[in-house]
Symmetry: C2
Subunit: 427 residues, 2 copies
C-alpha cells in the first residue's frame, strides 16, 4: 500500500474517531462551562482539566506561576495579586521519538459574565440548543481547550502514535495579559511549533493584533450644579478627548498597510471600556477615569503606539483652553499585547493548511485578527512559530449568549489531530 493510501486511511480513522468522541467532547465542554473561571478564579476548573488530561493518558504537570519569574515581563502580563490557587495545567503525550514536537495551547480563564439580564441562556449552564453549546467561555475558549485535549484522544482511539511530543496546555490569565502562557514558556515548555485554539472560526490565523491597555485621567473643576458654568465638567472634557481618540483611530486605520488587514472594518480599534467620574449628582464632576484598549498591527511596536497615543492626548489637550492648563494623563495599565505573526510560507502554516484541506476538502482561510492573544509569548519569548486555529466566532467571545457550534468543535478536533499526526510524524 502506498504512503498516500496509508495517509487516506489514517485521515479517515481520525475523522471517525473524532465523530465517535462527539458525545464525550460535549459532556467535557459542558462540565468546564459549568465551573466559573473568570480571570483570577481558575483554580476549580483546572482541577477538572487535570482530571480530564489524566483520563486521556497524559503526564500532567500542575504548578502555580511564580510572580518573581514573570516580573521582567510585567508590562505584558498582569501580576496583580499573584497566582496562589491559580495553577497552569500541562499534559504531555510522549512521542515515540524522532518527530517534531508541538504545543497545543488554550487558556482556561474567561471574562466576566456581565449583565446577566442580557443573556437569554444560563451563562453557567452549558445548555445545548440547535447544535450550539451556550455559556461564558464556551467559545473563548473552553471549547478550544477541549478540542486540543480530544485531538490527542482521537489519535489514541485511532491507534496513531506521534513521533514527537505533544504538549497540551490549559493556561490561566490570558484575558489580562497571558501570565499563564508566558509562565509555561519560561518553565521550559518550548516546542518546534505551537497552535493556540482561540476561536478563529476554523481560519488559520497567522497574524495577531496587539493592544495597549490604558487609563485616561481627566481633571475638571468642581462647582455647585446651580452655577455649573463656573465649573468645568470632567465628563464633558472626557467626551472631547474620546471624540479625538476615535478620530485618531480612523487616521491610524488609513495608514495601516499590512496586506492581511486590508478590507477590515477596523484594523486597530480603540475601545473605551470603562468610565467612572464625579461624586455627587449636584456637583460639577472634577475628575473622570476611563480605561480602554488601543489596537496595533504586526510591524508596529508597543513603544511606538504609546508615543503616538501620548502625543495625541497632548495635542488634544493643547487645543483646549482648560486641558492646556490642567493636563489629562494617559497611563499604561498591565497586560499589553505585542502584535505577532508567522510567515504564511512557513512549514507550520503549510502543514496545517494541508491537513485542513484533507479533512474539509476545501481551502482554509488564512487570516489576520485584530485581537491580541498569547501567540506573542510563544513567538517573541519562546522563539516558536505559532498559529491560532479553532472553532467558535470571536464576535461571540465577550458577549451575552456566548456559544460554540458543536459541529465546528468536532471539526477542529479532527483537523488538529490530523495536523498533529502530520507535524509530529506518526506510525
Amino acid at each position: 500500500m502506498s504512503g498516500r493510501e496509508g495517509g487516506d486511511r489514517r485521515d479517515m480513522a481520525i475523522r471517525g474517531a473524532a465523530e465517535a468522541l462527539r458525545p464525550a467532547m460535549v459532556a467535557a465542554l459542558k462540565e468546564l462551562v459549568q465551573i466559573p473561571s473568570q480571570t483570577g478564579e481558575e483554580g476549580l476548573v483546572q482541577e477538572a482539566v487535570a482530571r480530564l488530561m489524566r483520563d486521556h493518558g497524559l503526564d500532567v504537570d500542575v504548578w502555580e506561576p511564580d510572580a518573581a519569574t514573570l516580573a521582567p515581563h510585567a508590562e505584558s502580563v498582569t501580576l496583580g495579586s499573584g497566582f496562589a490557587g491559580r495553577p497552569n495545567v500541562v499534559g504531555v503525550y510522549r512521542g515515540s521519538g524522532g518527530g517534531r514536537s508541538l504545543i497545543l495551547n488554550g487558556h482556561i480563564d474567561t471574562v466576566e459574565i456581565g449583565d446577566r439580564g442580557a443573556w437569554r441562556r444560563d451563562p453557567l449552564g452549558g445548555d445545548v440548543v440547535d447544535g450550539r453549546l451556550y455559556g461564558r467561555g464556551a467559545c473563548d475558549m473552553k471549547g478550544g481547550v477541549i478540542a486540543n485535549l480530544f485531538a490527542v484522544r482521537v489519535l489514541r482511539e485511532a491507534g496513531i502514535e506521534p513521533a514527537g511530543d505533544v504538549i497540551v496546555q490549559s493556561t490561566i490569565s490570558e484575558e489580562d495579559g497571558g501570565a499563564g502562557a508566558l509562565a509555561a514558556v519560561l518553565r521550559g515548555y518550548v516546542a518546534d511549533a505551537a497552535l493556540i485554539s482561540e476561536p478563529t472560526n476554523l481560519a488559520i490565523v497567522v497574524a495577531q493584533g496587539g493592544s495597549l491597555m490604558f487609563r485616561l485621567v481627566v481633571p475638571g473643576l468642581s462647582a455647585h450644579a446651580c452655577v455649573r458654568d463656573e465649573g468645568v465638567s470632567a465628563i464633558e472634557k472626557f467626551a472631547y478627548l474620546h471624540r479625538g481618540l476615535l478620530e485618531f483611530e480612523a487616521r491610524h486605520n488609513g495608514e495601516i498597510a499590512h496586506p492581511l488587514y486590508d478590507g477590515m472594518v477596523n484594523k486597530a480599534p480603540i475601545n473605551i471600556g470603562t468610565v467612572r467620574g464625579g461624586a455627587w449628582p449636584s456637583s460639577v464632576p472634577e475628575w473622570l477615569e476611563a480605561e480602554g484598549r488601543a489596537g496595533l498591527v504586526p510591524g508596529e511596536s508597543l513603544a511606538g503606539m504609546k508615543r503616538a497615543l501620548s502625543d495625541e492626548v497632548a495635542r488634544l489637550a493643547d487645543a483646549d483652553p482648560w486641558l492646556r492648563e490642567h493636563r489629562p494623563r494617559i497611563e499604561w495599565r498591565d497586560g499589553h499585547f505585542a502584535p505577532a505573526e508567522v510567515a504564511v510560507e512557513s512549514p507550520l502554516v503549510h502543514t496545517l493548511s494541508a491537513a485542513w484541506r484533507r479533512v474539509r476538502r476545501a481551502e482554509p482561510a488564512i487570516e489576520a485578527v485584530t485581537y491580541g492573544a498569547d501567540m506573542r509569548h510563544f513567538v517573541l519569548v519562546g522563539g516558536m512559530p505559532c498559529v491560532m486555529f479553532g472553532a467558535g466566532d470571536v464576535r461571540l467571545a465577550h458577549a451575552p449568549d456566548e456559544a460554540i457550534f458543536l459541529d465546528d468543535l468536532v471539526a477542529a478536533a479532527a483537523i488538529t489531530a490530523t495536523f498533529t499526526a502530520d507535524w509530529c510524524g506518526a506510525g
Copy 2:
C-alpha cells in the same frame, strides 16, 4: 427721646456687640468646620451646636427625625438609611410676648470634601488667612448657622429682648433634599417668618430655583474590543444624550420669563454629576448610569419638568437607531427641590431690607438664585414667608478651598440681629 433716636441707639448697640463678638464667632465657626459633617454624618457636629446654643441661653430641643413622618414627602427628601445618630438641633429664645415669631434656619450638613489634592488649604482646618476662614462647610453653611446663633447672642449682649420667639435651627440632610428642615416644620416649628442663612453674598434672596435629581440609564451592546464595531458603546450613546440634554437646557433657558432670572448666565442648569459605565477595558461597555440635576424656576412644577425631561430623552432615543430599540431610562432619585418664592412686596422682605439699609447704609440686592434649598419646606409645607440671606459666596460652596469672609460673617450677624429686633418687636 424719639422712637427713631431709640432705634438709632439700638442699631449702634447691635453693631457694637456684633463686632465685639467677632473673636467668639470665628472660634465657634472654626470649631464647627473642624468637625466633618458630610450629609449622613451630622451627629458629632450637632453635639457641638447644641452646646453652643445652651451656652447662648437657648432652650434646646434635640431629636432624630422620624422616617415614617417624612414618608409622605419622600419625593422631596432623602429617607435613605434613616436618621439614627443624625439629630436636628433647635434652640428657642423665648420672647417677652406679643411680637411676631421668627425662625433662623441653617443646615449643618456639608457635601463631601472631594479631591483633597485640589485643596490648597486643609478642608478640615478652619484656617484663617487674609480675612477668610477656610474649610468644607465654612460658607455652605456652618457660617450661616454661626451667624444665626450669634444674632441672638448679639441681642442679649446689647440688652435687647425680642417680644416674639426666636427659633434658631441647625438642621440636617439639606444637601440631599432637606429632611431636617422638613422634619422641623412637621414637628410644629412654624413661625410668622423664616430666614435661611444660606450663602447669598448678603443679598436678600426671594426666589429659589428648584431641581430634579435624576438617573439616566443607557444600554449598550457588549463585544470584544477587537471587533468594537460589532458592539454598541453605552459611553458613546450617553455622550449623544448628554449633548441633547445640554441643547434642551439652552432652549429651556430661552423660554424662562421670570423677571428676577433675567440676565443670568444659566437660569436652570442641567448638570451631569456622576457617570459609571462598563466593566472591562477591552469590552465594549454595555451599560452606563449617570446621575444629575436639572434646574427649574419658580412658576414651574416638578411634575411638568419631569414630563419635559422624559419627553426629551424619548425624542433623542427615537432619533437614534440603537436607542430607538434599546430605550434609555430616566429615573427620578430622592431629593427633589420644588422652586419657591416670596413676594418682593411682602412685610418680611420690606422689614429685612430696612434693617439691611440701616446697618450697611446702602441698598440690599434683591435676587433670585438657581439653586434649591430648604426654603420650599417653609413656604410650601409650613406656609410661612421665607427668604434666604447670609454671608458667603455660593460659587465657593461645593468647591475646593471653600471659604467665608469674616467681615461678611459679622455683618450678617449684625443685620440678622437688627432684623430680628424689628420683626419680633423689642424693648
